[in-house]
Amino acid sequence: MAPETQTKQQIEEIEPFEAAQEIEGGDVVLIDTREPHEFQEARLEGGKLVPPGLLGDEIATAAPDKSARTILYCRSGNRSYKAAEQMQALGYENVASMAGGILAWQEQGLPVVATEGMTPEQRDRYSRHTLLPEVGVEGQIKMLNAKVLLVGAGGLGAPTALYLAAAGIGTMGLVDDDVVDASNLQRQVIHNTERIGMLKTESARRTIEALNPDVNVVEHPGRMNASNIIEILSQYDVIVDGADNFPTRYLLNDASVRLRKPVVSASILSFDGQISTFVPFEGPCYRCLYPTPPPAELAPSCSANGVLGAMAGTMGLLQANEVLKLVLGIGEPLIGRLLLFEALGTRFTELKVRRDPECPICGEDAPEVADEDLGKFPDYDLFCAG
């Protein structure tokens, strides 16, 4: 008898339907002996990936009990057979290889977990996301289907946009009426020297497209104001407030509460940043936190007082983190929490923010806005001029 055949007789091989019955009965350790990209494409539910080259290092973690019933599978039954031999040599007493692999399994009509909705390139690009149990393929698809609007493509909007694009947020709207200036480049890293003079929305779009072609960028150049805000906001699921003035922030708050859109809001100056997440009626709104804007001398701009570039990046990325948590539905967003970051001491402080029952926007007695009045807003320029 040829040595090969002799060896093959020593390892128990089972048919896919037998494996399925055993797996359903419970108490089976199921090992997938393929490569990561195959695993991500389609796999048996409950299978733990141990690629052949890493078996020696990883099998003890994946299959700690050497007497437990262990079933191995691969694509067609060859690699799993060899892996079973290796395991036997390591002292595993009860291993079996599934004959015909996942191909035979599928031919017999048995179910697999497939990464539907993503191309092979996407599976590769987002693998560091899909590896996270809290994200997985399902989470990545949520991100690809999400629509996020960035109000402001400047100090905050630039870093936020970069990381949301990298994450695969499928549709990103950018609102900004400004053009790229050399003094922006100290912190607005989505732009660059070649873009000086270009509309910020266009510059950001070009950078995003080069970074991640999966992202559809919608440019909204020009000022967002009472006449267009409802129409713009309606197209998105989550809003990022990276505006640089109070009238826009108050207007955005009104409109987002009316449309029930969550807003991740941050602000920066010098070495300080603030961030919170406003989910209408679930938590406070911007007006609950700041019922009245301060006079000009208490709220200087970055162009007047300066801002540490890295600090702007820090707050922008905290915004990106909030957006991803909202899209994925994981973790604890900063609802009802105001996070302060002080860059000189590298100190974080958290303050509580409560819904104001008398808030004119989201309070109990706040007036209901009829559909035809959705686009009518107070004059916030006047309101903020004090």
């Binding site: 602000s267 936190l289 804007p293 709220a299 701009s301 409560r354």
Partner: protein, 90 residues
């Protein structure tokens, strides 16, 4: 004695100090102790009527004093009073 955290926009009025110790049994007293020692802060904190300006948020530790007892909120030894104006920069 409580510690008052001074926001950057007010630090010129406190000689640049980001934190100032001030004594008082309630938030109002602590803030008045602050304005006594650093008169430049008074106008930005208090209106002509002696009430706290609406555009300045004040926290006792992590809670807005508006949901507590306002300026009458009791202050214990070691507490922190945070003065927080809104920032618009983006």
């Amino acid at each position: 004695m409580a510690t008052v955290r001074i926001p950057p926009v007010l630090r010129p009025q406190t000689g640049g100090q980001p934190e100032v110790d001030a004594a008082g049994s309630n938030v109002g007293e602590v803030l008045r102790a602050l304005t006594a020692e650093h008169p430049g802060t008074k106008e930005q904190l208090f209106g002509a009527d002696g009430d706290l300006n609406r555009y300045v948020n004040v926290y006792l530790n992590d809670e807005d004093v508006r949901v507590l007892d306002g300026l009458d909120t009791a202050v214990a030894e070691g507490d922190t009073v945070v003065i927080l104006p809104a920032m618009a920069g983006g």
